[in-house]
Symmetry: C2
């Protein structure tokens, strides 16, 4: 039989994946939508590349949450489908996969599902395309292959069949013998995967994936309160089986563990350490570099002005609005890469913040300063980033800018940057969970859910910690493998009220923005309706777009990278609270493709 492989099963760019599949003797591929969106090749070029390699494109799966939807939702789906079917014609792919809906809006109504799938199949037929409907194991109402087949059968449409997937069938424990009752010509596609059985086992969960209290999903503090009410007065003992801790430095793990118990005891009402002093904003971000020139060019194009120099050290202050960047050439070794080394956190009570940090075992940093310098309390985060607790322009507290004569007195030309929106810091592989707990317990920030982000060369995990009003947002990111700790970039996102204007001014000042594949903006057109010319503007400037469930909108674009550091220009509207995570795979692929995209 012909053999095929989904591009998502392989590492690298779409081109690398197609080449690998062809060399290994596959006859065809399923193209995973994100691989296409992230590719600089046009659909026609992808089709030609496949043909040259002797590969057919056997399946494409751009649709989600199709069937049993409210009328308005389904109308949007048909609109999107029209775009995607046209794209499939350009690709030369004739089968589209539709997985059973996971939408909370989906209705438990097989007749409605069948009717809508038939309407989709009608549309597909016009494009010479077949629709293969598959039950996801976690589908909202349809999760078994026989249920999916009953709906296909009820729809009775020649362009509608079913797709079988061994994972979805066998992970549910369904009896595969029933497959034989489906007419073969209605099985449009067969996807194969195996899986280790143990992934679902509580024993494995216990032996490999335990973590310290506050790093997982259990209410451990709540449990401890019940135990205390019972009158227990023995020790609180951590028994944690964790594959990562087993290979991490014991000293760092033990500190992480002890910190988790200090937070737990506070939460359980057993202790009252100094209360957290939640930072209210980012006073500055400090970059350490062996060569200030490339950064100076980039900051200049971004509209920053060099307003002051530290009175005792080779540290320059660059300002624009409330965004402040320190460029430090003191400490960098000649061969060291430019990196984000320190963050100044705006603190209503720097001394209190330091007391809290010390109580929660944050390493307090020695004050490497001259006698006349402003006293600054600082601690080290688990990744080594120095966190300074400081105040900017508040009467009762010493201003850290006193060390920078003339700071704040020169008005930069500006591109409309108002402040630092967020900082993204790559964490050492071993200490991702520790980092989130550190920022929660030491700084009193809130940790958002962890998000997986597909880089072409491995999966990243990303988790934001923020204060309540978003004045401080730090995105903690971890790479796929211990070897890569320093390979991934850090970045500083700058908040604007008009990212289009900021991007234009940046370009006019000689800045270069990360180019984004046209396929990405084609997909935007299928997903959303835009005002005339809006999408063309995004396409021209390389602006990403995201919209959240509540209608909040995020527009963002990226500069080139200097050392390990790049900048992002962002515009938040309508209460958008995320970081454009759906766009991250395309951005990461574009950054890989643009290696060498480091000019000024």
């Amino acid at each position: 039989m012909r053999t095929s492989i989904a591009t998502v099963s392989l590492s690298g760019s779409l081109t690398e994946k197609l080449t690998a599949a062809a060399r290994a003797g596959f006859d065809g591929v399923e193209i995973f939508e994100n691989d296409l969106l992230a590719s600089p090749l046009t659909p026609e070029e992808v089709r030609d590349r496949c043909a040259d390699l002797g590969l057919t494109i056997d399946l494409y799966q751009p649709m989600r949450d199709v069937e049993a939807a409210p009328a308005e939702e389904f109308a949007r789906t048909l609109r999107r489908a029209r775009h995607k079917f046209a794209l499939m014609r350009r690709l030369g792919a004739d089968t589209v996969l539709v997985c059973s809906s996971v939408s909370p809006l989906a209705v438990d109504d097989d007749a409605l599902a069948a009717g809508q799938l038939a309407r989709l199949a009608d549309l597909a037929q016009d494009f010479g395309i077949r629709v293969a409907y598959e039950a996801l194991a976690w589908g909202r109402h349809v999760s078994t292959y026989d249920h999916a087949w009953r709906i296909v059968e009820a729809a009775g449409h020649p362009a509608l069949g079913t797709c079988l997937d061994s994972f979805h069938i066998l992970s549910r424990g369904s009896d595969p013998r029933g497959i034989e009752r489906i007419p073969g010509e209605k099985i449009f596609f067969l996807q194969l995967a195996d899986a280790p059985r143990l992934a679902m086992d509580v024993l494995q969960w216990s032996r490999h994936h335990r973590c310290f209290p506050g790093q997982g999903g259990f209410d451990v503090a709540g449990l401890v309160r019940h135990v205390l009410r019972a009158g227990y007065d023995g020790p609180l003992s951590l028994e944690v089986f964790n594959d990562v801790y087993r290979q991490s430095d014991a000293g760092a793990t033990a500190v992480d563990a002890q910190r988790s118990l200090r937070l737990l005891q506070e939460q359980a009402g057993l202790t009252t350490p100094p209360a957290p002093v939640v930072p209210t904003g980012v006073a500055f971000a400090e970059l350490v570099t062996p060569d200030a020139e490339p950064l100076a060019a980039l900051l200049g194009a971004l509209g920053f002005a060099r307003t002051a120099r530290h009175r005792g050290k080779p540290v320059d202050l660059w300002e624009q609005g409330e965004a402040r960047i320190l460029v430090n050439t003191t400490t960098a070794g000649r061969r060291e890469s430019t990196r984000l080394a320190a963050v100044g956190l705006e603190s209503p009570d720097p001394a209190g913040a330091a007391r809290r940090a010390e109580a929660l075992l944050a390493p307090v940093l020695p004050r490497r300063r001259a006698p006349q310098d402003v006293p600054l309390e600082a601690v080290a985060a688990p990744d080594g980033t120095e966190l300074f607790f400081c105040a900017t322009g508040r009467a009762a507290l010493p201003d850290w800018r006193a060390d920078f004569p003339a700071a704040g007195h020169r008005t930069p030309r500006g591109t409309g940057v108002r402040r630092i929106d967020h900082l993204s810091l790559t964490q050492p592989w071993h200490h991702f969970d520790e980092a989130a707990l550190f920022h929660r317990s030491v700084l009193g920030l809130r940790a958002q859910e962890s998000v997986d982000v597909a880089d072409p060369y491995g999966l990243l995990r990303s988790r934001a910690v923020t204060n309540a009003d978003g004045g401080v947002r730090i995105v903690l990111t971890v790479g796929p493998a211990p070897a890569d700790d320093t390979a991934h970039a850090q970045h500083i996102a700058l908040a604007t009220d008009d990212v289009v204007a900021a991007a234009r001014r940046f370009r006019a000042a000689g800045g270069r923005l990360l180019p984004i594949p046209a396929n990405y903006h084609d997909d935007l057109a299928a997903r959303y309706e835009f005002a005339d010319g809006e999408l063309e503007t995004y396409r021209e400037l390389g602006i990403f777009y995201d919209r959240d469930a509540d209608g909040g909108v995020f527009r963002h674009c990226y500069t080139h990278t200097v050392g390990r550091v790049f900048f992002e220009l962002v515009q938040r509207e309508g209460g958008y609270r995320g970081y454009g995570a759906p766009n991250a795979p395309v951005r990461l692929a574009a950054q890989h493709a643009a290696r060498g995209f480091t000019g000024g």
Copy 2:
């Protein structure tokens, strides 16, 4: 409250763990039994070390499958408990943890459980020890904390209480409010751990842990047969979401994928590639080294004789019984470490084996040989090991030893080594599943279950592939992190009929055996009854002992390491089929402790 941490939560040797815990401010530790067994410190020294560090030993857990056992089993448990309670006195630990039984022999009888726990508590009381009984989430009959408490209450013994563990309680979704009804003084201990909820989720399972058919636990071939009977004739398409593949070389992954489909198609009756030619034994193992002297000294002490030299290359043949080792100084770079580079597999049909290998996409190796050399078919395994298909002393086939004039003609002094028992090969981190599938599909070997082995600095996984009669046994091992691929040792295990005699002769010839901590043999005394002097012999020589469920016995000991390679002397009795996996953590710790133990 006092804080404590289980040593299993930290990386390294027991000494490193204790130091890390004390430095982080913990008041006590739970000592995990394997950490003690693997430590060269006596129990008194551990107690003193803890006291010096300001740590108490709050818990020890040497017991398994205690309660509701048949009388004979329970008698053995009491015998073992007496040993362990005496050990706890030496340690200065006063609380012993007893987890609910997971034994298939356990009876569902709470009264029996309560009675036996009370008898154990009686014994404990004599030693000044308290018994804390805990429900494991996967206990056979007792898996919830309230059930464990009911049994403790029924036993009504002052030295018996319960231990609560947040993982076991919260992973089961039990209501923790019921804890408040337990009298506080009967809660002897509280163990805390958190865990990510997603580990149990089919969505996460699907998105991160799929693998290629034949690498997991599903009957994918069976499913495909049903689909074929339905009349499906579309492609077989692999849709595999796997975190490891995402970061692995796409070319290698694609070949692995295609190989999996070739095996699947054969299993489903779709194709008939050349049948596997299962190897019947190990003809030779070839070591490549930049310096033959240390190996020569070691092989000499092991009783091997250098019987022949290859007629065209600097390759020596060492022989003893049917064990043959080639020592090759041709290809090694000067700075390369001594390694196991090739394996000669005894094949009833070398040409057929090569055809099978080629059909299953094994890279066929070019024959680097002089015109007069014996033709040898060879392929490369995924880890780069060269596999030769060859024949030794069979009339119809050319003998590979023809290239070694005088091979087999000199009788070595010998230590009683009969043949190569097994080979252990460290696999590249990315390709562990591929390696097992390769050996199954290409060589027709059977893959045994994957086993986790705790190295002090991370978890190893290990999986053996064998032929039916054990003539070929290859243990595939993978380290904890991608960075360590070449750090772990490879080894050659040599079969003897009398490992004690072999070890004595090895020592008499100047060989040094890996020293094993006394705690290990103390534990053997608690577990098994030995004839007079037997245990003392094992202790003297550093011999490990294991017994399987059917009474098969395994005795084994280890030489020092040369480059990446060491040897093991083994003796199998009573049909023992394993590899001494329960002893591996102690052996690995001893090897770490004996770094520098590289003399001849």
